[in-house]
Amino acid sequence: MALIVLNNLLRILFLILLQALVVSKILLLDGLILPWIYIFAILMLPFETPRWLVLVIAFGTGLVMDYFTGPMGLHTTACVVLGYMQPLIQRLLAPREGYEINERPTIQKMGLPWYLTYGTILTLIHHVVLFFLEVLRLHDFFYTLIHVLLSVMATMVLMVLGQYLIYNSKPADL
């Protein structure tokens, strides 16, 4: 149990540092594509994590991210929404026999189509809240929309590639 907690904490910390120190420095198309891969930490929480705990972890993750990039509260808000939605989306996408105990949502376990649906929905929710809150203007609605969509794609590509790189023990049979 303690190992699982430590494991998840380290993953969150690593992803925040990776985000702040490397990924946020990448400038693609004058900043139009801006992946936020640190939310991978929240998407990766084990299935049986209590909902309140997901919320609290998401809140904490957002807060630390805000300390790195600011303005205070921006990532926190987006992460709280994400943390609220994550168990709901998991329930929505649950297979008929339910999830296995002690399982995490990975491509290897759940298959690529399942993961793409799961990841894209949640990334989209997070990015929509984040980008629209940051701009807080509707006059460049379409610019922000394209910004969101391209960034969601970039985040998903990084998350999927990252999983194949890190958990490459056995490819899932699709």
Binding site: G31, W52, G62, Y67, G70, T76, V80, Y84, E134, V135
Partner: protein, 280 residues
């Protein structure tokens, strides 16, 4: 009472969500204008250290480029040495007159973090109030304008660069005065307004600071005119300029302090009290 407890028990996740959402939205909107100040006060030491370490590594990887830059600057400065000037006639010496009174002091600083892909971008410098940096000082890199200091902690300071949606500064193109703003989008372009239509502005013209106020000396480079819209019916040009500072690469900067600020301000204040008007 029992009903309320039962209700809370049933919806506690949603209630917790509402609470945390309200808290984070409150943080966002209560700190919107000067949100970076909060960042400096609370976290500059830890986050500043992390960014400092990262920057050391990144700098190591770019030593060659920085070297070229410094060599170029050395060459430019060496060209100004008095030994390079041949004095044909004592009355028409081209020598740099160093007997004048110093008005601007330049303090070197290093950029340890920069955002460029937001609407409100910021740079973090590794010098703060203990090293003499104060709010509202101008920041330049080489000869070109970078931004204005907005807040400082003991050892770090935050700079609002030209590429921030709230940045404003008066500029000069061919003797006409305009206002520089950044409309968002590309970190290499900005916009100049308020230049009257009768000014014949051409692509390639230099955009410089005016020297008004206490932030920048006159004649600091900001960029070059890229496009002048001829079609708008307004009586002022809307001019797109290419910024001379490359924010992706800005590394060493100089912070400018105006040593005569107090004297000028006192003088203006005295004049204002004579006139009985308020200067903004």
């Amino acid at each position: 009472m029992r009903n309320i407890l039962a209700l809370i028990q049933r919806f506690y996740v949603t209630l917790a969500f509402m609470g945390l959402l309200a808290l984070s939205l409150f943080m966002l909107f209560s700190s919107n204008n000067y949100h970076r100040s909060a960042f400096v006060e609370h976290s500059s030491d830890l986050v500043g250290k992390v960014y400092n370490q990262r920057d050391k590594l990144a700098q190591y990887l770019r030593l060659g480029e920085i070297n070229d830059h410094l060599a170029l600057e050395n060459a430019r400065l060496r060209a100004r040495l008095p030994e390079n000037y041949l004095l044909r006639d004592t009355s028409t010496g081209d020598m740099l007159d160093t007997a004048g009174v110093l008005r601007y002091r330049f303090r070197p600083a290093r950029v340890i973090n920069a955002t460029i892909n937001r609407d409100m971008n910021y740079l973090t410098l590794d010098r703060g109030s203990e090293q003499g940096i104060q709010k509202d000082m101008g920041v330049i890199a080489g000869q070109s304008v970078v931004g204005i200091v907005t807040s400082t902690s003991d050892n770090f300071s935050i700079v609002m660069p030209v590429i921030h949606s709230n940045f404003r500064t008066p500029v000069r193109i061919k003797g006409f005065f305009g206002q520089l703003t950044w409309p968002g989008g590309s970190p290499q372009r900005a916009q100049v307004d308020d230049i009257p239509k009768h000014a014949r502005i051409m692509p390639g013209d230099t955009v410089t600071t005016t020297g008004f106020g206490f932030t920048f000396p006159a004649g600091q480079l900001i960029g070059f005119v890229e496009e002048v819209d001829m079609l708008s019916k307004e009586s002022f040009h809307v001019i797109t300029i290419r910024l001379s500072t490359d924010y992706r690469k800005v590394n060493y900067v100089e912070v400018i302090s105006d040593l005569m600020r107090q004297e000028i301000e006192t003088l203006q204040l005295r004049q204002d009290s004579i006139d009985g008007t308020d200067r903004p």
